[in-house]
Symmetry: C2
Subunit: 369 residues, 2 copies
DNA sequence: TTGTAAGCGTTATCAT
DNA sequence: ATGATAACGCTTACAA
């Protein structure tokens, strides 16, 4: 606690001093107070609390009673100055818009839960100057490690990981990641699998439905990787992809979309969806109104979404994002690096994409071919 | 940095010592290193950085050069031991399920942004033992203040705010809040306004649509306050309220809902909605299919939702939650308490509910009465 | 089994 | 204008 000392001068009040007072001055008990109350030395108090040397039952009881009575909690900073870890990891999520998107939430919570399980708290960093913030909190020893969320293709936070002085794990796969470890779904494989899945069932023309143009524009890593891989592999196979988002999406209208895309001679037989549950539901409704049923007339495969817990008008086969698994892996990797001094710089761990089948993908009706 | 000293013994390797090493040992420059490199004393370095006393340009240049060269960042813990504030606030959100809900996200982000604007970082606490975590981080001086999210009617975190030793603000209004300050929308007023709004337009029977039974079951504060006020005021007015959620909502089907509720003699003329955009859209679709148009046949007033940025099949008049405003007020209040030592214990600040009119509420068609 | 004291990195005071 | 130093609260090596 700082006490500022002011002097009433003829010209006004002037600050002329500042003294640091002990814990006692602001009603907080320190280890000295506990020692005094228990009639022992400070080191005895410390050892009773840490259990690092044997203490007589009698002494231990006295100390614990004093701790209880005074409501003593060791000061975090003082402990850290003695080399004890802070047990805090930074979580970087410099999100700009998209505030109403559920998807980030799962990553925040799963990271925090997993960190908590390992005994760490999470410092949330959402400022615009992400690299500056990360430098600050790592260099000042405020945190023991760093997790990066919402990775872009060219992600400066990952590229500059070497500046952080603490281990760093990204959930996502940027193109340059320097000293940063990366954990993600293999979205390149996911794109290929999506194309294969539909092609192998006889589909030859497919529409790619998205409502996340903002993600593309700012270069969000996984959507770019998925799309690139999807388009490339589709081209190899001879699978035609119609990209929905050429339409102005600000005033997206499901009826117009369905009419424009499906009311043609050579209509697509499947949708690869990356739009939200809400948008996809509207499209499903319009398909029904247009007399097209899923999956008999149109197959639907949703990729990079997470519909568990969402109310869908019908069950949709999905290659979902996996926040829980990824956050778990990221935190495990990071905590091992922190506690075992494992060198994880540059490590990349990609998970196989999952496919949750709910019957919305079918063979193309031969009568239609 | 700790260095553990091991001894190779006949029976194996045994740890027999542990020494704390200076910053230099792990490659991190401390203020002493800077002083040495610049050829000045440590106090001079400190003063150059803080600007708290006049320094010759020549010395300042030397010091800054050394700081740059060594990449020196002051140690956060050492600073705090000298009484400098930590600039961290705790954000408590012990969320259990509902991970896929967008709504929390806005509160996380707006709190973090506003805190950042005021120079604070946010420590995210999501553990089950919320009170324990809050005691720990406040008593250990890790944080300078506390914000509570997701307040329940009987919220133990708020009730125990007296234990925290740091100022505490809740975004929400629990029934017992002791030393905790509270910032919220006046949901009691909101419930009354919703009833008034519809009654004054001639509505006499209204359905209350929700998809958040879990919130009710665990006693989420604002949904209870809103519902209670709505029901009470409706009763006074003579407005009948049909509660949707008596239906098993696990397998909610919008068609069934619309049929059950609207395909009766004395059908409701309005919906008070508290369900998600996705669910409401499905209901809107079914109303259309049933030949009921909004607002000519059915008015829709959404309360306690946040549809800005959501794609609705038609614009909906809304009394929204206001994450940005509430987080702003909460952080302002808290930071003032921290920095000006204002006593905010027990303060309650309720905002007037907003009403965003988008034409989905109309007078009851007299022909129908 | 317990006490004494050094030292972590920084800032403010006092002295020059 | 600058330097030397005590103090912050805690942990741990060392002494008793």
């Amino acid at each position: 606690m700082l006490v500022f000392i002011y002097v009433q001068w003829e010209t006004g009040i002037v600050q002329c001093g500042c003294r640091k007072l002990g814990k006692g001055a602001c009603g907080m008990a320190g280890i000295k107070d506990v020692a005094r109350a228990a009639g022992v030395s400070v080191s005895t108090v410390s050892y009773v609390l840490s259990g690092k040397r044997s203490i007589s039952v009698k002494t231990a009881d006295k100390v614990m009673a004093a701790v209880e009575k005074l409501g003593y909690t060791p000061d975090a900073s003082a402990r850290k100055m003695r080399g004890v870890r802070n047990q805090i990891i930074a979580l970087s999520a410099p999100i700009r818009g998209d505030i109403n998107q559920a998807k980030y939430n799962a990553y925040f919570l799963h990271t925090a839960w997993q960190a908590k399980d390992r005994g760490y708290d999470v410092l949330l960093l959402t400022g615009e100057d992400a690299v500056g913030d990360l430098r600050r909190v790592t260099q000042s020893n405020l945190v023991d490690g760093v997790v990066l969320l919402d990775i872009e293709e060219h992600d400066v936070r990952a590229a500059e990981a070497g500046l952080y002085s603490k281990p760093c794990v990204a959930i996502g796969l940027p193109s340059e990641h320097g000293d940063c470890a990366c954990v993600d779904i293999d979205f390149t494989m996911a794109g290929r699998q999506a194309a294969d899945c539909l092609y192998s069932k006889g589909h030859r023309k497919v529409v790619f439905l998205r409502d996340n143009e903002a993600d593309y524009e700012r270069g969000s890593g996984y959507v770019l990787l998925f799309r690139e891989s999807l388009m490339a592999h589709a081209k190899e196979l001879g699978l035609r992809i119609v990209e929905s988002s050429k339409h102005g999406f600000d005033q997206f209208d499901a009826a117009t979309f369905v009419h424009d895309v499906f009311d043609v001679e050579d209509r697509p037989t499947a949708i690869i969806n990356q739009a939200s549950a809400n948008v996809l539901n509207q499209v499903l409704q319009e398909l029904q109104s247009a007399g097209l049923s899923v999956p008999d007339n149109v197959s639907v495969l949703s990729c990079g979404t997470y519909f568990e817990g969402e109310l869908m008008t019908q069950p949709i086969t999905e290659m979902p994002v996996m926040p829980q698994e990824l956050c778990f892996k990221a935190v495990e990797l990071l905590v091992n690096a922190i506690e075992s001094h494992t060198d994880i710089r540059g490590v990349v761990e990609l998970s196989r994409p999952a496919m949750h089948r709910h019957g919305s993908v079918a063979e193309v009706d031969v009568g239609e071919q």
